[in-house]
């Protein structure tokens, strides 16, 4: 069971959180300038790396805040936790 260090509350069990998937996905726009392909890529395509994944988590049964996690999808090791809006740690950026 994952232990995730909420930047606001400290380490908590995974059951308090929800993973919201890949983070740092820029929303394309304005709508009229975006091709169907580009929009489909934004909506659906994901890096889904085998290794370090930058993802966002919600501490739903806690402070209710979203934040970012860098986590290895093979070992499940949490490599970094940082706030929403912060850039990912440089050494973990793919």
């Amino acid at each position: 069971m994952l232990l995730i260090a909420c930047p606001f509350c400290g380490p908590r069990d995974e059951t308090e959180f929800r993973c919201g998937g890949e983070s740092h996905i820029a929303r394309p726009g304005p709508a009229e300038t975006v091709s169907d392909e580009r929009w489909g890529d934004y909506l659906f395509n994901r890096a889904n790396p085998k290794g370090v994944h930058l993802e966002r988590w919600l501490h739903g049964h806690g402070c209710g805040q979203w934040f970012n996690v860098a986590r290895d999808t093979v070992s499940h090791r949490v490599l970094a936790v940082y706030r929403m809006g912060d850039p990912p740690p440089k050494d973990l950026t793919p």
Binding site: M1, C19, G40, N45, R46, A47, K50, R71
Partner: protein, 413 residues
Amino acid sequence: MGYSFLRLAREALRDHTGWRPAWRDAEPKPRYDVVVIGGGGHGLATAYYLARNHGARNVAVVEKGWIGGGNTGRNTTVIRSNYYFPSSAELYDLSLRLYENLGVDLNYNVMVSQRGFLFLAHAPLQLEMYNRIVNALLVNGIDAELLSSDEVFRRAPLLNRAMRWPVVGGFTQPRAGIARHDAVAWGYARAADRLGVDIVQHCEVTGLRQAGGRITAVETTRGTIEAGAVAIVVAGHSSVLAAMAGLRLPVTSYALQAMVSEPVKPILDTVVNSPATGVYVSQSDKGELVFGGGLDLYPSYAQRGNLPVVEHVIAGLIEMFPAFAQLRLMRKWAGIVDVVHDSSPILGPTPVDGLYINCGWGTGGFKAIPAGGWLTAHCIATGGHHALSAPFDLGRFATGALVDEAAAAGIAH
């Protein structure tokens, strides 16, 4: 030499020394017409139908581990075709029809057991939704029955009559059931091998070569293999392989856990699924309860799951069948599934010429093995889509023409 009881009897007289390998461990050749990446059910079936339906004679299946070791050997063995949309229903029913004759076709007993698959309804509105599904199935020529609660309890007598969500009825597909998962991989491997397909185990693909927008070769841990066409059939690793060809997929990998109890004498004669608990359960021919529930909801390539889902799923199982609380969990494991937004497969050509893909089956890939192989083989052999695979083209994520079963029928397959 075929498999039969007579042959078994003959071999019994000579200590079973006459059996040949079920499939050869082939050394990879420098070039194949088709290289299928992935020795799971779908990959092996693709190779088999390439050889059988399309006469391909120079085909290899390359597998990084041992065949059938991914989701083919890790699922809960359910086969069914009770899907809402005509495009899904036709795809999965092709699969079910192929399953019905697969033992004879492959000369390998894959133990197809058509014991029915029963969805429980927990509220009148859910029963109305099931009526919608049953009617869709009947219009599409697929067997389905709407059941009263009495009919449900008759089919599953140990079902909880005081369940947290009352059982008000259900629907069943009588032709659905289970099959012996490993045997499906082995049966296809053996049959493909007999048709000349090279099965190369312990051969991991490390790169995909292209020239002029066309696939030319696969690089592996056992050398570079030139190929006229390549198919990526690697549920759980689809994004990794696609990335080697520069493709991004609408796929996220999650761990799905499955569990078995200790074996007991027959107590459950059909497959039961409760949408309220999210749990599905059947009893294997060996007597074990085989069951599963939700995903571990964070991306993972680790073939293991964590404790909360185990507790949740078992609590759901016991809410459905209180008497099962006497039993013990014997084993649990996880497979990595390709989750796609609309929970429908991605099957067919890709933007790279000569490169085909079969992925995105979510938690339901096992039931689709024969059709997935059949249609992938067709796409490779013809260079285009089969009518049944066209709706599942990768291009639907740009046009928005999704095939979203869960959205339409409220049932997550």
